[in-house]
């Protein structure tokens, strides 16, 4: 089976935060963006919006530091990194370890949560009207665009030294 990944096109995001709402409703039954697995970061005055999601990293620090193996990889489910809530003790080590600040502590259930691709049908993708978030095959992503972005970024980093 082809591995699918969540892809964000930041330039299409309007900052409506509907993705946060549907995510929290789908996973918790409540309309509470603070319990959402997707977070929209805003630069309000500049009008820039960036949906942040879990990258399901190849070398996932959250998996590495989890003391209970609750945070684990599932190769059979799009190679996703997910948290088994029956094993999670809520130590918050994964939250501190994640360089992207993705996992969050669910105050109500007292465990850590993160994106699980909604078991193969991400609701943020379904309900995103401007199509800023999409769920696509990893090998069909826009390689040229990413390469161009990477070159720009590398150039920036070199000059920053």
């Amino acid at each position: 089976m082809d591995e699918k990944v969540l892809v964000v096109d930041q330039q299409k995001c309007t900052g409506c935060r509907q993705c946060e709402l549907v995510c929290s409703v789908y996973h918790t039954g409540s309309s509470n963006p603070s319990r959402s697995r997707i977070k929209v970061v805003k630069w309000e005055e500049e009008g820039i919006y960036l949906p942040l999601i879990c990258n399901h990293c190849e070398e996932a620090y959250c998996v590495e530091v989890c003391p209970t193996k609750a945070c684990h990889r599932e190769p059979e489910n799009n190679n996703r990194v997910t948290i088994d809530e029956k094993l999670c003790i809520g130590c918050k080590t994964c939250i501190i370890a994640c360089p992207f600040g993705h996992p969050f502590f669910d105050i109500k259930d007292r465990v850590t949560r993160k994106c699980d691709y909604c078991d193969g049908d991400p609701q943020c993708v379904v309900f995103c009207n401007p199509k800023a978030v999409s769920f696509m095959d990893a090998d069909k992503m826009d390689v040229a665009r990413r390469r161009e972005a990477a070159i720009k970024w590398a150039d920036f980093m070199k000059q920053g030294r």
Binding site: E44, T68, I89, F156
Partner: protein, 354 residues
């Protein structure tokens, strides 16, 4: 008004972690001090052995607590361990915390601390019971004692390694931190042993042995000061190269809050000792100096925890770069960046809301 509602704006994108606070600081502090006092206590017992000359019974019981005065460190670790459990989301699952020792330092720490507590408490109980067969010079006991000492070292180092393993927080992710915590564990541990020996009457304040221990304590404090200075100065240099990254906040805001206590705990005990020499036999000064030092050890850990600011998320940096919202350290690049920035704002203060 906006600044009031969103204080993060004043600090740009830098925000200290809030997940590990004073509860974890108490755990790290008691684990470090407990392990340090066991190491120091065992070394004193091996080298000087004051418990061989003095017997300390309590309430006319047949037990001798003279050696226990030196080996009570594991009790501190046992008191500190529940604080880590207290910090868990689901406390009743705390036993799960040892399931992944292959890669997780929390799991390894669970095993190290448990082993230290078991071995340490065995020796503590053994030292107090009056049975002769327990105090025989057997090779097995010596081996067990060395194992307990090794676990004590591992516990003292582990408190720093646990934080060092967090790669996304630059202040923590350095080899200097385990070293700093180890030296702090030894200095607080020695002070705890000095106070317990004074309190129990195992040593008097005027004894030669006490003077040697106080000189040792001062040596450790000097060493701690050097390690702390190196730790901070290395981070300050890293800040300059990184171009206004996370560490500035630690130095500017956090250090003023906790640095005072740390410096007081390092400098004031030495000062007090000189004052004490003017007032001979005044133990109160020693107790005051010891209390300051011990509180400094706690605030050192709390300060390091509170100042743990994670590196900025790469995607945010990418967006800021793309829209010309961040400064580039090279002037020629900043000019070029200014021309392409949105609305001509090349170096605006970043403002975002979660």
């Amino acid at each position: 008004m906006t600044e009031f509602n969103y204080p993060i704006r004043q600090a740009r994108h830098l925000k200290p972690q809030e997940h590990w606070g004073w509860i974890v600081a108490i755990y790290l502090y008691l684990a470090g001090m407990g392990a340090g006092s066991f190491i120091i206590g065992t070394l004193i017992d091996w080298s000087i052995g004051p418990s061989r000359f003095i017997r300390i019974p309590i309430l006319n019981l047949p037990f001798d607590f003279s050696k226990a005065t030196l080996l009570w460190g594991p009790i501190l670790v046992a008191i500190g361990a529940p604080f880590l459990i207290l910090d868990l989301g689901i406390k009743k699952r705390f036993l799960y915390a040892c399931l992944n020792p292959r890669t997780s330092w929390v799991a390894r720490g669970f095993i190290i601390l448990s082993a230290f507590m078991i071995f340490g408490l065995i020796f503590l109980v053994k030292s107090s019971f009056p049975f002769k067969w327990l105090h025989g010079e057997s090779v097995l006991w010596h081996i067990l004692e060395i194992i307990a000492l090794a676990f004590a070292f591992a516990t003292a180092l582990y408190t720093g390694v646990l934080l060092k393993a967090t790669k996304s927080i630059p202040l923590w992710n350095t080899y200097g931190l385990p070293l700093l915590f180890l030296v702090s564990a030894l200095s607080t541990g020695l002070m705890a042993i000095i106070l317990s020996m004074l309190g129990s009457g195992l040593l008097t304040y005027d004894s030669v042995m006490m003077k040697i221990l106080i000189i040792g304590e001062e040596g450790l404090l000097v060493l701690e000061g050097i390690v702390l200075h190196l730790f901070l100065s290395i981070k300050l240099k890293a800040t300059k190269h990184a171009g206004g990254s996370t560490r500035i906040i630690w130095l500017s805001e956090r250090l003023t809050l906790f640095g005072g206590v740390i410096l007081l705990s390092l400098l004031f005990p030495g000062l007090l000792r000189n004052i004490t020499s003017l007032f001979r036999g005044e133990v109160v000064f020693m107790v005051l100096a010891g209390t300051l030092l011990l509180s400094g050890g706690f605030f050192l850990r709390l300060g390091v925890l509170r100042a743990g600011i994670r590196d900025q998320i790469p995607m945010k940096r990418w967006i800021e770069f793309q829209y010309g919202l961040i400064k580039n350290p090279k002037p020629e690049y900043r000019r070029a960046q200014g021309r392409s920035a949105i609305g001509g704002k090349s170096e605006t203060n970043l403002k975002f809301i979660f």
